[in-house]
């Protein structure tokens, strides 16, 4: 299969520095050797609770934070081996949509100028095929081109092109998220990291944005890394799901498969914890006890053993490898498949 993105052994540690003359006294192991790949045109859902490293993973892949180790291959190119200039070129193709559209939009810029900015910086030169059609002739007006393209992008995300002269505060949360999407799409990227892109939205607006993301994916052949904590949302949008716990991937499979047959006790517990909109279920569920430990000094052996109802001595001693137990279904647990 044509994998647009391959992540191998990705590592991101943040040093903890202390003292009058600061010295590194330890590391936050935010992302600790994760590997996955995403086929072109598909969505991989990356799920987990706060602090599991999913957001850091997304940012490291885009080199918004520098990696500690590992490799990311995007369309055959080694992302971490690129120079800054080469990286700028690649940014056209890899974009990100953030959770809080308000904090990611400049309050003093009009919507139009915000969408035009990347267009003016990168220009139509060497761009994707669509803009090449109107490539710079002798009388090419760069500003007018950007303006027209901004209006077109607003239409694409379901907003009126007349909004170009308005400011972010004039919009509702859902509309702002549409603006964030329009800006991310400006350079016709092929891969987008959606970092909790619908988490801050009300249900009815969330549904609108999810539909929009899916329509755009079909229309523009986009590939998404969809980072979220809401499993129902991920189930709706992703073809595959990877579950993270304390910096590691503990289970990965096709969406239908992982929801029908979760093999890792953590995945099972996550699913059991979701309150379902069905009253009188009377479900007495197995709850996980305690909090997730700190990623500064993660437990030895399996990192989940401190909260795992199935944990045995061996789990405390040895780290279980991520193995393919069924075709396309990887899990890191020696008691995989047993029910909590």
């Amino acid at each position: 299969m044509d994998d647009i993105l391959i992540v191998r052994d990705l590592v991101k540690y943040y040093p903890i520095r202390k003292g009058v003359v600061p010295r590194t006294v330890g590391h936050v192991r935010a992302v600790d050797h994760i590997s996955f790949s995403i086929p072109r045109g598909q969505t991989l859902g990356l799920v987990g609770e706060s602090g599991c490293g999913k957001t850091t993973a997304g940012r490291t892949i885009l080199r918004l934070v520098e990696p500690t180790g590992g490799q990311v291959v995007f369309e055959g190119r080694d992302v971490f081996g690129l120079s800054e200039a080469e990286m700028r070129g690649l940014r056209r193709n890899m974009q990100i949509i953030f959770q809080d559209p308000y904090s990611s939009l400049n309050p003093r810029m009009t919507v139009g100028s915000m969408i035009e900015e990347p267009l003016l910086v990168h220009g139509p030169e060497g761009g994707a095929p669509e803009s090449a059609a109107e490539s710079p002739g002798p009388r090419f007006n760069r500003k007018r081109w950007a303006r027209e393209r901004a209006a077109e992008l607003l239409r694409l995300v379901g907003l009126s092109p007349d909004y170009v002269n308005r400011y972010p505060h004039e919009f509702s949360g859902g509309q702002r998220q549409r603006i964030g999407i329009a800006r991310a799409l400006a350079l016709e990227p092929r891969f987008i990291v959606c970092d909790e892109a619908v988490s801050a939205l009300d249900v009815s607006i969330q549904a609108q944005i999810l539909n929009l993301l899916r329509d755009l994916q079909r229309q523009l052949d986009l590939t998404y890394l969809f980072i979220a904590h809401d499993l129902a949302v991920v189930k709706h949008i992703a073809e595959r799901v990877a579950v993270m716990y304390l910096g590691e991937i503990v289970e990965e499979a096709e969406t239908e498969e992982i929801f029908a047959r979760p093999l890792h006790p953590y995945t099972q517990a996550l699913l059991a914890s979701i309150p379902l909109p069905v009253p009188r279920g009377g479900r007495v569920q197995r709850r996980l006890e305690g909090d997730a430990p700190s990623p500064i000094d993660p437990p030895a052996g399996c990192r989940f053993h401190t909260r795992c109802p199935l944990a045995i001595d061996e789990c405390r001693r040895e780290k279980p490898p991520l193995v393919e137990l069924y075709p396309g279904h990887r899990v890191a647990c020696i008691r995989a498949g047993e029910e909590i």
Partner: protein
């Protein structure tokens, strides 16, 4: 236990009068958990904050209505009298524990503080009871955690400490405003279990404000759905989930992504919530409603459409027949 009658809370702003809560009536019976649900800006939190008069006036003003607690209108109470109610008879927990925990006072002392304020007892006695309460809400080794500062606790533990603080005087009513929204799902499950147990143990009533229909289904006995400052539907929980009788409630259910069913697209409620400065006349949902007719320009009353089931819709019967996706 608690009865809110035609409550109106208006905000005066430069752009005009903002009718955040506009004629809300509801009641919480003894031992009942009532869920108040709706999307951001619908007025559910302002309604909740009004019960303890925690809405700053100005800019807000209580433009009408009564809040009756055990028969007495507490909206008319003086601030000094209100202080005897807060934390003693009626308590509140919030979404963000740091908004109610003082960062520079040890957690245990904050839990004991309400006892010293409302009950006659020595510091030693208060400490004993506070430690017992901390243990009950699941804080490990409470004798030592008593002296911990809030920042030393995890998010889930802070939420537990706040619950201990709210319940230390054994209130009759707990108002919980999105108590688990900021928590991870495994921690949310723990806190919801805890609240359910404590409610039974202390024989409390609970008013739970939330946007999460899953949380409502798992914890509430009855539900009131708010839209644009008004209650649009009010019913026992099973009744509401099985047969919603307002097109807005219906739309909310349908737009939820499902864990058990695959759909290519989610059915959406078109448009966005209208601005509270500029609500449509008549039914406030009519601009987004697929059932809307001319009659909807007249405001529909919140009327009983089935035993115990209220709906503010001229087409409540039709709404009940709308096809519902399973969740």
């Amino acid at each position: 236990m608690l009865e809110i009658i035609d409550l109106r809370v208006y905000f005066t702003t430069e752009e005009g009068v903002l009718r955040a809560v506009d004629g809300v009536s509801l009641s919480v019976r003894p031992g009942e958990t009532l869920g108040l649900v709706g999307e951001s800006g619908c007025g559910k939190s302002i309604t909740a904050f009004s019960i303890l008069q925690l809405v700053p006036t100005p800019p807000a003003r209580y433009a009408g209505g009564e809040i009756r607690f055990r028969g007495e209108n507490i909206l008319a109470l003086e601030e000094s009298e209100m202080r005897k109610v807060r934390g003693s008879l009626i308590s509140m927990v919030f979404q963000e524990p740091m908004s109610s925990l003082n960062p520079i006072i040890p957690v245990g002392r904050q839990v004991a503080e309400a006892l010293l304020a409302h009950r006659k007892m020595s510091k030693g006695e208060a400490r004993e009871i506070a430690i017992r309460m901390l243990r009950r809400v699941g804080i490990p080794s409470p004798e030592t955690s008593f002296d911990d500062y809030p920042h030393q606790l995890s998010g889930g533990m802070k939420q537990r400490a706040m619950i201990a603080m709210a319940l230390i005087c054994r209130p009759l009513l707990l108002v919980a405003d999105e108590p688990t929204t900021a928590l991870d799902v495994t921690i949310q499950a723990q806190i919801l279990d805890l609240l359910r147990e404590l409610k039974r143990e202390f024989n409390m009533s609970v008013l739970l404000i939330t946007h999460d229909l899953g949380v409502v289904a798992e914890t509430c006995d009855s539900v009131a759905v708010m839209y644009a400052g008004k209650i649009v539907e009010y019913a026992p929980v099973v009744e509401l989930f099985e047969r919603p009788r307002h097109p807005y409630t219906h739309g909310l259910f349908r737009s939820l992504p499902s864990l058990t069913e695959s759909r290519e697209r989610l059915p959406v409620i078109p448009g966005a919530v209208p601005s509270p400065l500029d609500f449509p006349s008549g039914c406030r949902f009519r601009t987004r409603c697929s059932l809307a007719q001319e009659i909807c320009e007249r405001e529909p009353p919140l009327a009983e459409v089935a035993p115990g089931h209220l709906s503010a819709c001229h087409f409540a019967d039709e709404a009940g027949e709308m096809l519902r996706c399973s969740v």
